[in-house]
Subunit: 365 residues, 2 copies
């Protein structure tokens, strides 16, 4: 059993690696096709202009190389003062959010070392904060959707997760487009480039080819624009985190979940020779308001119980099968050799059914 | 109860927000203190050199501005051909891993639009892949540590999680330092700057102030160096993901876990009027090889059971309390009004103890 589950996890991981590499190769081919020709043309034009200048001013190659290096170094300084408080705050934000535009980077040894230590603690803190706020946002959206269903007098008040995902997706699109419009207004990049900037920022890629607050000493002069930009980044990342919380987080724990089930089964298998003795517990088992969580708890509970019920000991790594097995397992708890079998069996089968209901409910959620 | 748990989650989220903002403010102040003075001096020197040039060649401000823009644009082209297959692969990797150096960025409209769509699917795939491989790495480390303990003939074969974390941490440091040494050798940046580059890359900040493979047309000429750089990024990110998987992932699901427990309690509370009838089940409850997962399952199982045991119905949102409560809850299952109380009580208390053992075990893990 263990080896089987191990195998499943390894196969999953391997297929993920294969997918990622295929995706990278396809991406590389397409980027090559899209950009290579333009690069060659652009390169030729720029070097031609350069030669014109050098000839016009009769500049020696050495001098031009020195000038080139000088111009490269002055780029951040031409964009305004970068390290006064507001600029440093902007930089610190790009570090902990891992956006890392690189529009301005620490130049001193002390700055570089501090930046590393700052990131070590800051990045996990930031990830946890954004995920936490994102999850709260999802809860708020679910609550609002419930209220709307109430107003619309819908019979089924439970909000499908797909609806929450749809709302989060629309919210993300709204943030991106409104952000694009605002940055287009302030930076005059044009809509597509502003949208591209917003996207590259909120995915935390942060190329730095377009960076807000780098014109007309905006970091010092345009406080309202600084505040807007920071709010855009913070709110935008929250909305993206909310979407990630719904869409990605569950996949991150897949292997660990399997390990957990694996441990559970191994532990129970080790307990495979315990005797059930005594009489019947009869309880009214109709737990119909039960939740996803409770269904899972019930599955685990039935697994723990089945440690004490070697009579119908059946393991299944398949979740669906597990749920179906609860029926048999629960029977093994509620029925004994004494005369109350029917009562016990009815009871257990009722519980078995309800588990199946929860499972279907859970999938519909 | 629900409101209480809601409150706990909101308080947690709020305190995380406060922490992050405090961290950002402190960081901003320190970056300002570390970099501001150097920035002023550096800026003055560079502009002075610039003036010297302009005077030496008697260059008009307009001409110099055009030259400056030209030089800025030629930076990626001076670093070699960027968009042939190997360069495009390197770029695609910086997109899906959100490193985003920005050493070279799409210049065509098609390239920018494709880049956005490429990232939408690529980033989640990459996160899931690295987390999955990281988790496999942790499992492998645990397995190796177990084997070592076996070789050392240690009585306690269970590997504490702290040991796995320590190994992952050391592995991360090893990757960073060996990477730094290699890049120092290839790029001649000096050790500190190479370490800074490796750190900024593997945290996916990716400023782009230092970028590998940008010298001497390395992307086309030095294939072995290209392969080494890509392997460094991929293996490095796997090791960092393994550490994140152990240290951060659990915090990302805190609120969701509370919501789960909340649902569980609400569901159970709704079932608060069920009668327990019948006799005693007596089972040998020494489940000593039980795991963290099983302890949790057992806690949830006891919660499900306590739906049927309103006699000692006690809810506790505190995990520790919950575990202690199992003792009472389980007694309510195993003891009845019939003459078998002692047997039942002994049995249940034994089980209660074992739960407490698991809890302490779990904390030690």
């Amino acid at each position: 059993m263990k080896s089987k589950i191990m195998k499943r996890q390894n196969v999953r991981t391997l297929s993920l690696i294969v997918c990622t590499f295929t995706y990278l190769l396809v991406g590389a081919a397409l980027f090559d096709a899209l950009e290579s020709r333009y690069e060659v043309e652009r390169r030729a034009d720029l070097l031609e202009d350069e030669m014109m200048f050098r000839n016009k001013y009769n500049m020696t190659p050495t001098d031009f190389e020195i000038l080139r290096k000088n111009v490269e170094r002055t780029v951040p300084y031409y964009s305004g003062i970068q390290w006064k408080f507001s600029g440093s705050f902007y930089f610190a934000l790009t570090v902990v959010t891992v956006i890392g535009y690189g529009h301005s980077t620490p130049q001193t040894v002390g700055g570089k070392i501090f930046c590393m230590f700052y990131a070590v603690a800051g990045i996990p803190l930031c990830i946890i904060m954004f995920q936490s706020v994102g999850e709260r946002l999802n809860v708020f959206i679910t609550y609002t959707l419930k209220k709307i269903r109430k107003c619309l007098k819908l019979r089924n008040r439970t909000v499908p997760e797909t609806h929450v995902i749809l709302v989060t997706m629309n919210l993300s699109t709204l943030v991106l487009t409104s952000g694009a419009l605002m940055f287009d207004h302030y930076e005059h990049w044009g809509f597509l480039d502003s949208l591209y900037y917003c996207f590259i920022t909120l995915t935390t890629i942060g190329f730095g080819d377009y960076v807000a607050l780098q014109k007309d000493d905006a970091l010092q002069e345009k406080l309202h624009y600084v505040v807007f930009s920071l709010i855009f980044i913070l709110f935008g990342l929250t909305v993206i985190s909310a979407a990630m919380n719904l869409l990605v987080l569950r996949f991150l724990t897949m292997n660990t979940e399997d390990e957990r089930r694996d441990e559970l089964e191994a532990a129970a298998a080790a307990q495979n020779a315990i005797h059930l003795d005594g009489d019947v517990i009869t309880s009214n088992g109709n737990v119909h308001v039960v939740s996803n969580a409770q269904e899972r708890a019930a599955v685990e509970y039935s697994e723990v119980i089945s440690v004490c019920s070697c009579s119908c000991y059946k393991w299944s790594s398949n979740r669906g099968k597990e749920v179906q097995n609860n029926r048999r397992r629960n029977q093994s708890i509620f029925t004994t050799t004494s005369g109350k079998n029917n009562y016990g069996r009815d009871d257990s089968s009722e519980e078995g059914d309800s588990f199946l209901q929860y499972h279907s409910k859970r999938n519909s959620l």
